[in-house]
């Protein structure tokens, strides 16, 4: 359903993604793990098309030269050079790193902006689903996005992405800066989303512990290259992964 083949990305001459190939079938959760600067966000930006936009802007301003090589195939269609809004239309929705909530909009408005691509019956249905999935949002539905706590913002960000009716949901570091309790709660919700919405999900995360149990397949990124991959069982049994991510 979704496949990235031999992605290479250069900032000027610096290699940020080195020959990364990854696949994700419908109804699967794929994990991408790596430390800071391993290339997780770069990968997510490349898959969602934001990198295409950054590249264009840098080119306009005469800034950094960004080169993208490789292919991204989604539902049999080559989306490698599509701009982000068209990729979103095709069903690839990114929930960006650091959540990027609209700070001066209320929770409901944030969700409604997320529903830009949805028709009115989808909007209504998904709105109900999001409040059901994250009951904590109901109480604060009139509050401005900028005044929410980190956990609330993350729930809102995921809900907002769901409003766009994703067929492939890209979650970029959804657990960043959150308490362990909320991390496990969100991991559970991500699994529920897969089960109930039938969307494929790719999660990029450095905290492997809460995410590893819910994924079907995972990749370990190091310096921009996918060095290890396997099912969650294989990854958890791998001694290198164990020592790096589980401290054993």
């Amino acid at each position: 359903m979704f496949e990235a083949r031999q992605l290479m990305l250069f900032y000027e001459n610096m290699l940020a993604l080195n020959n990364v190939s990854l696949q994700c079938e419908a109804d699967r959760i794929v994990g991408v793990f790596g430390a800071n600067s391993a290339g997780k966000s770069t990968l997510m930006y490349t898959l969602s098309g934001i990198m295409e936009d950054i590249q264009k802007k840098e080119q306009m301003a005469g800034g950094e030269r960004i080169t993208i090589r490789g292919e991204i195939i989604f539902q049999g269609r080559d989306v490698t050079h599509l701009k982000p809004s068209l990729r979103a239309r095709a069903g690839i929705i990114l929930c960006p790193e650091r959540r990027r909530i609209f700070p001066e909009c209320t929770v409901v408005e944030n969700l409604m902006i997320g529903g830009y691509l949805a028709n009115s019956s989808q909007t209504e249905e998904t709105l109900g689903y999001v409040f059901n999935l994250f009951p904590a949002l109901t109480r604060i539905s009139k509050r401005l996005g900028g005044f929410l706590s980190g956990g609330e913002q993350q729930m809102l960000a995921i809900g907002r992405s769901l409003m766009a009716q994703p067929r492939l949901l890209l979650l970029d570091e959804p657990l960043l800066g959150l308490s362990p309790m909320i991390q496990y709660m969100l991991a559970k919700s991500i699994k529920e989303i897969r089960n109930q919405r039938g969307a494929a999900i790719i999660v990029a995360e450095q905290y492997a512990r809460p995410i590893m149990p819910i994924i079907d397949y995972g990749y370990i990124l190091e310096n921009g290259a996918a060095v290890v991959d396997g099912t969650n069982k294989e990854l958890m049994d791998n001694p290198d992964v164990k020592s790096a991510y589980f401290g054993q």
Partner: protein, 288 residues
């Protein structure tokens, strides 16, 4: 009492002048320096349609607004889209277009003070002991209505919400399928029409002259800088501050010092609080 009433009138007209500019800047980070030109253009178009073509006044107004909207959208599509992201070029290009429009109109025959749009309702009234003409009251009314409509638009409709999202976080909006260029075209069209609407209510108070274009641009920029570039609430508040300051200067120092107020406001703001009253610059400070 006259300070309060005329202060309201001046503030509302400033808000009307600045709304379009701040809308475009807020959504697309485009300083539209052709704003003043579009203002005069709408007035002149309405005058031509009314006096030369002989259309009824309301039809002429609506038609001139639509044409201005289309010109704004075309300006983005054909020129500004190509230099997006280079602020200096954006300013130069939009200002050049503005100059072309303004001086083009002068060449076309807009010279002298004989071009006048009739007021919507003739006459004047006495309000709390101050005599005000109806057109000035309409300015206040329309200012309030326009702000209200704009608020409804950006908080209730899908397109308005998308514009608001784009204004607050471009990248997040893009991940949700909102297209940056489409929104910029919409914002430019809307912003130009707002400039036009301001012209249609304000111009009947005087005559249509090319110089008004430069004046309106300076006022719009002053209001936006004091309010914080791209902040809609800030622009309205700043319009009231500058508006009342102007009326107070007019009352106590004389009419010539009025324009100085706006320029002084820019300088003071840039010294004391460079990001303006509701500036977005503060967001650059990392808040984790």
């Amino acid at each position: 009492m006259d300070i309060v009433i005329y202060g309201m009138v001046t503030s509302c007209s400033l808000a009307l002048m600045a709304l379009g500019f701040t809308l475009v800047y807020g959504v697309s980070r485009l300083p539209n320096f052709a704003h003043g030109a579009l203002y005069v253009l709408t007035g002149y178009l309405a005058w031509l349609l009314l006096k030369r073509v002989g259309l009824p006044y309301p039809v002429a107004m609506i038609l001139s607004l639509v044409v201005t909207g289309i010109i704004g959208a075309a300006m983005y599509h054909f020129v500004l889209a190509r230099i997006r992201g280079m602020p200096i070029s954006e300013i130069i290009a939009s200002y050049a277009i503005g100059l072309a429009i303004l001086e083009g109109m002068r060449w076309f025959g807009l010279r002298g003070g004989t071009f006048r749009l009739p007021p919507f309702v003739d006459g004047a009234t006495e309000l709390l002991g101050v005599s005000v003409d109806f057109q000035r009251l309409i300015v206040v009314g329309l200012g309030v209505v326009m702000v209200g409509l704009l608020w409804l638009f950006v908080s209730k409709t899908k397109l308005g919400l998308a514009l608001k999202g784009m204004a607050q976080d471009e990248r997040a909006a893009m991940t949700l399928g909102i297209d940056s260029d489409t929104m910029a075209v919409v914002a430019m069209a809307l912003g130009s029409m707002l400039a036009g609407a301001a012209a249609l209510v304000l111009l009947p108070l005087g005559s249509i002259v090319v110089e008004a274009g430069y004046h309106v641009l300076i006022m719009a920029v002053a209001v936006c800088i004091v309010g914080g570039l791209g902040s809609w609430n800030g622009a309205i508040l700043a319009a009231f501050i500058i508006g009342f300051a102007q009326i107070l200067t007019w009352k106590y120092f004389g009419a010539h010092y009025q324009v100085v107020v706006a320029l002084l406001a820019i300088i003071v703001t840039l010294i004391v609080r460079p990001s303006g009253l509701f500036g977005r610059q503060k967001e650059l400070e990392e808040r984790v």
